[in-house]
Structures are given as structure tokens and as C-alpha cells.
Symmetry: C2
Subunit: 408 residues, 2 copies
């Protein structure tokens, strides 16, 4: 008897019919002799609608109150799912994040899970029940409700799987798995059978929206295999796990892109110790994620410092950076919100020469200007003009022959 | 500095604009130097919509899950209200029933409040905050969410007021107070300035929908004055309290009516001890409220037993009573769902002769047949055909000259 955690996304539980469909899938898993814990997202566009309702009341909703408001979305979907299961003759119970023991810090709207105190889940499983956990939410030490921000329900699912020692965490969504590139843009994109955590992490971090990097990180940390598959088909999906032999695919595995990139450049920064801290510490305090950071070579002890943030964080980031700019004696700061990011990802890329050159030349052939470059061991990323991202995607998918599958 | 509990009904918080309006009213109370605890109902028709959603998933939603589902309605409205208050510069916090310490039994969908452990409310008030409590919900010893059933938010408000020793519990709704009869049906109906708890209790129990009897009972028990007023006007409303001199109004104060009446008659019941218990104990176990009970005089140790229930409970009640009918050797049972109830209410009625006679003759003049009669010290109720309730209401309002006010 295996313990399986399944997560169903918003589009999979968007209405009563879809909820019933999901209930049948859960039952099929249970009837194979498994224990099943399900993590439910809010129905369809519920979260957006609740945010819009809050905005009708006030332009800047209080963060604590907003989290309580948003948490109701998952309460609705998880209770409906439990009702559907019970009406089909299977004992089930829905648990709020608090009841499921999802303990978080108090960073409203982007809380981090500290621990999953899973005794209630274990007790209900022990009574033969299917346990539905409301995703995306947790509770602080002071018993205040938090939400986990983007990718929250995926994170709930993997954290719960880790805490229970589940055999696998299955993420069901409206796509059939992880592709070599966004199949909406690249019809030739190929579904991948498996990926390593690192590859998925880079793909997710660099724009593949199918899984949030937080959940992949957790999966890697606790070695929980993650299956990404569709809740609408029986297609096998993509398995993300740690057991992939290093040398099997030392090549480009996929291309990620992201249109949500904004760049801030602090001009004329004095090149002296402590400057980076002065700029990035206040940004961290405001919970703004910094992506790429590039500092040009210093000319006469003066340099320009450029970094990218999510477009949605740009205004907030500028409000933080502008006063700092003055205090450190920099010349000023400028923002550019019309950028995109394109990344090629594959294990072993750094040990195999020529990838970077092929990438740059493919972009050059399309007349695409590269604004910034960053790399990791298994990734090369170029920041380019937002309007050229799709062209770049097509060119790179072709250049690395990703449409040609080899069964992995 | 007084402590005031205010409850706002669903129509008072039906949309963002109305929520902002309510926020201004709360602030006005706070700025007079009061501490304010607010109990919020779900927005508009939210509860009905959630029930309908559950019914789309399954015809018989699991009760525990349904309660979690319904509790989200008040979570939404109370967080929005807290956001509105904060955006207007007043510190506020919303608390779920659980956080507010509303402890109940585990009778899902009609839970009873056992106690209000108000330390969190007290702490937040102590920090100068306006505290918004989600109405209609509580939590069991096992930390499962319950809802309180009909009149739930009124009950939350009065129970909270009692627990905090509040000066007054103000119930804001879409009517301006308690009237001598339903003003939608009787344009001459007059708003009452004040009422005793007993009078309000009888009015509420016998069909005046403005307040649920549960909340009035609690108000009486803990001697909390209850003001019923409109959230849309500055009209003074009706004050329900215990300080009304007995002799001031020994007359009919109001007429209540109720269209939600069903009658069950158990035929040919053997007239022997234990029969009533055999019938009513299983009904009580199913949490079905019995209203009027009439047992006819026994003929040859056989009698008919008639009782009324809410129409919504009729099917459930019949399922309970039918097997009992057989087991006690009765002849059978029949149901009638098309009944209504009309009641005249006023303190001192029993000490003043002629009220019953005037009531029966007014109904007789309209050709209205009386099916059952019950009385209390301050009430006379007739069960009549549902289709004649409005005629009866008009006739009785006129017969007792209720349109003629005397300033109370």
C-alpha cells in the first residue's frame, strides 16, 4: 500500500462537473490499494475574483485580511471535493491548512512553510479516509491564516508529501506534462518523460509555468518524485526525480521563457564595499525577489549596477531603490519593464562546449540583441527585448533540435 | 467608554459600496469613544449560492463539509470589512469563529454555542482595534468548523455581547425595526419603540423574521439590550430590553405570521404512557424542532396526535415518524405542508379577558377555518390554511387597532 499525494490545479476543479471528474480519478487511485491525500487549488479564477473584490473595497488591502480572504477559495474547492467523494461512497474529509498542520512564517501573501504537523492527516488516513487538504494556505504560530503566494498549492502538496514520506507527489493540471518549450508557442515542442530536479528547477525558475520552483526545491530536498500530468487525460505525464543517470542526456533538455521581466539600473554607483548590501538588503526586507544581477566593470571607481525583478514588483522595487540611490551617492536609477528572458536548460551543459556559442549565434541570426547574460551549471539565460522572445524561442528550439525526441 | 457589539446582516454588506458604508457607521460609533466589536453576515445571497454549488456536486452534501463551505461566506465579508476600516485609517482585525473563541457542539448546520472564549477579542480590543467576528460559525472541541443554522449571526452577536459584558448589542438589517406586523403586507404597520424580551421572543418564534428567537433568548438570559435598526438610515429602531414596566402595555403589541408550517398527524395512537417519548425522542435526535403539539381527547383509549414542524423539516420528520408509527401500533401518519400560523402577542394578555374571543371572531368574519390553537402567557396562535394567512393578518391588525400608536 503506497501513500500518494495528488494536487489538482484550479482549472481541474473549475466547476461541479470537473470536481466530480477529479473525484473519480482520486477513487481510482484509492481503489488500487493506495492511501490518498489530495491538495486542492481554488476553483478556476476564484483567487483573482477575490482579489478584485478586495480592490473594490480598498486599493491597498491589508495583507493579513487579504490572506484570510484568499484562503476561502481553497476551503470551497476542498469541501466540494470531499462532498463529491462521500457522495460516491468513499469516506473523505477536508482539512484547512491550519487543520492539516501547515505551519508557516507570518509573511502574509508569500508565507514560507516551516513544518507540516501531519498528525491529523495521519489520523484521518488511519481511519481509511481520503484526506483533502486546502492548498495555498497555512497558519502562523499565532493562529493567523497565511497564504503561500505563487505556486502555493504545489508547495503545499510537496511539503505534505515530504512530511508524510509519500511515495510520490502527483501534480495534476491542464497540461500533459513538461515540454521542451511552451507548446502554445512551439507546436513542435515535445513532452519530456522525465527530468532531474535541477533541470525542472531551472525550467521553472526561468519561466516554465507548469511547476513553481519552490515545490521542486522541496521535492529535491526530501527526494519526493513529482509527476506532472493532466487531470483531463490518461497521458503519462513527466516524472521529476533524482534517479536520472548523469550522462544520459548531457544536452539541452528544454527552453524556458518569461515575459514578466523588468530591469532596474542604478547609475554611477561608487565602487566601494557595502554598496550591494545597501541596495539589496532593503529589497529583501520588502520580500522582493531579485533575479539576475550584473555589475559592469568599474571605470574610475564608478560603475553601473543592473538587476531584474518580476514586472509586478517593479513599482515597489523602485520605491525602495530610489532613496537608497541618493544615500549611497549614485547618479540615479532607471527602470525598463519591457523585457523578456529566454533560457536553455540541460544537465551537463557546462561540461560540453559550444552551447553558449550556438545560443548566441541563433539569436544573432534573428537580429535579437542580448541585454544581459547569466548562466548556471545547467542553464544559459539571455535577457532580451520582450517583443522578440517568441522569435528567440522558435529559433532556439530549432537550433538545438528539441523536436527530435529520443524517448526521454 | 462603552463596549458595543454591532451585527450587520447580509443585505447590509451585499457589495463593496455597502461594506464601505457599514465601515463608516462603525467608525462613527468608535469615534464616540466606544469599543466596537462587529459581527458580519455573509454578503447578500452568498450562503444560498454556496448551498447551490454544493447541490451541483451532490444532492446530499456531507454536513461537516457543508459547514466548512458555508463558513467561508462570513470569512469573506468580515475580511472585506476589516480591510475597509483599515483603509479608512482605523485599526481593525477580522477573526473567524474559531479565532474569536465561539465554541459550539458538533451538531453541524445547527450547532449551539457552548461558550465564547473571548480572550483574543479582548486582547485585540485592548490594542485599540475594531474587532470583526465572522458570524454564523463556531468550532467544536475537535477544532472542526460548525455553522449555527438560522439566525446564526444574530446569535453570534448576542453571545459575544454577553461574554464581553457589552452595554448593548445592535442588530443592523434592511428593516428599520420591529413592526406591529410585516410592513410588506400591512402598510399601516407601526414600528415599535421598545419591546420586552418575552414579546420579541414570541414575535420571533411565531414568524417575525427580523430576529431569530435564539438570539433573543440569549439576550434575556444575560440581560443584554438588543437594538434592531436599519443599516441604511439613521432611524432609531426598536430596543428590546428587560426594563419595561409590566402594566404599560397590557395589550396586543404585534402580530406574527409564518408560512413555513407543516403538520403531521399520527392516527389511532394507543393512549398509554411512553407513546409521546417514542415519537418525539427520535425527532429530537434528528434535531427536528417540534412546534405546536396537540393531542385530542382519547376515545376508547385511542387518540390522534398532531404536531407541526418547519416545512423544510417535513420529509426528514416523516422518515423518522413512519417507522415509529408502526412500532407503537398506531394506525398511520399523514402530513399537510400547506399551513400557516398567525399569532397575536402582547404582555399581560392572559390577565385581560376578551383577546382570544376577539381574535377568533375576526377570523370567523373572514370565513377562515382554525385548524389548531395554542397559547402562551403572552400569545395566542392559530394554525390556518396557508392561503388565508394574509387575509388573517389584515383582519387582526385592524381588529386590534395596531395602526394607532401611543408612542411605544
Amino acid at each position: 500500500m503506497a501513500l500518494i499525494v495528488q494536487k489538482y490545479g484550479g482549472s481541474s476543479v473549475a466547476d461541479a462537473e470537473k470536481i466530480k471528474n477529479v473525484a473519480h480519478r482520486i477513487i481510482a487511485t484509492k481503489e488500487k490499494g493506495n492511501q490518498v491525500v489530495v491538495v486542492a487549488s481554488a476553483m478556476g479564477k476564484t483567487t483573482d475574483e477575490l482579489i478584485s473584490l478586495a480592490r473594490q473595497v480598498t486599493e491597498q488591502p491589508d495583507e493579513r485580511e487579504l490572506d484570510v480572504l484568499l484562503s476561502t477559495g481553497e476551503a470551497v474547492s476542498s469541501t466540494l471535493l470531499a462532498m463529491a467523494l462521500k457522495s460516491l461512497g468513499h469516506d473523505a474529509i477536508s482539512l484547512s491548512g491550519a487543520q492539516a498542520g501547515i505551519r508557516t512564517d507570518a509573511a502574509y501573501s508569500r508565507a514560507r512553510i516551516l513544518t507540516v504537523e501531519a498528525h491529523r492527516i495521519v489520523k484521518e488516513l488511519g481511519e481509511g479516509k481520503i484526506v483533502i487538504v486546502a492548498g495555498f494556505q497555512g497558519i502562523t504560530q499565532d493562529m493567523d491564516i497565511t497564504t503561500l503566494g505563487r505556486g502555493g498549492s504545489d508547495t503545499t502538496a510537496v511539503a505534505t508529501a515530504a512530511s508524510l514520506g509519500a511515495e510520490i507527489c502527483e501534480i495534476y493540471t491542464d497540461v500533459e506534462g513538461v515540454y521542451t518549450a511552451d507548446p502554445h508557442l512551439i507546436p513542435q515542442a515535445r513532452k519530456l518523460k522525465e527530468l532531474s530536479y535541477e533541470e525542472m528547477l531551472e525550467l521553472a525558475a526561468y519561466g516554465a509555468k507548469v511547476l513553481h520552483p519552490r515545490s521542486v526545491e522541496l521535492g529535491e530536498l526530501f527526494n519526493i518524485p513529482i509527476l506532472v500530468a493532466s487531470s483531463f487525460t490518461e497521458s503519462p505525464g513527466t516524472l521529476i526525480h533524482g534517479g536520472i543517470p548523469m550522462e544520459v542526456h548531457s544536452k539541452v533538455r528544454g527552453i524556458a521563457h518569461d515575459l514578466d521581466v523588468a530591469k532596474i539600473t542604478v547609475l554611477g554607483v561608487p565602487d566601494q564595499p557595502g554598496i550591494a548590501t545597501a541596495i539589496f538588503e532593503p529589497l529583501a526586507k520588502e520580500n522582493i525577489s531579485i533575479d539576475t544581477i550584473v555589475q559592469n566593470a568599474s571605470v574610475e571607481r564608478i560603475t553601473d549596477l543592473t538587476f531584474t525583478v518580476a514586472k509586478s514588483d517593479l513599482d515597489k522595487a523602485m520605491r525602495v531603490v530610489e532613496p537608497v540611490t541618493k544615500s549611497i551617492g549614485a547618479r540615479g536609477c532607471i527602470a525598463d519593464a519591457k523585457l523578456g528572458k529566454i533560457s536553455i536548460i540541460g544537465t551537463g551543459m557546462q561540461n560540453t562546449p559550444g552551447y553558449a556559442a550556438r545560443m548566441f549565434s541563433a539569436l544573432y541570426e534573428q537580429g535579437i540583441n542580448i541585454e544581459l547574460i547569466t548562466t548556471s551549471e545547467i542553464r544559459i539565460t539571455c535577457i532580451i527585448d520582450q517583443s522578440r522572445v517568441e522569435d528567440a524561442l522558435i529559433a532556439l528550439h530549432k537550433a538545438f533540435e528539441l523536436e527530435k525526441g529520443d524517448g526521454i
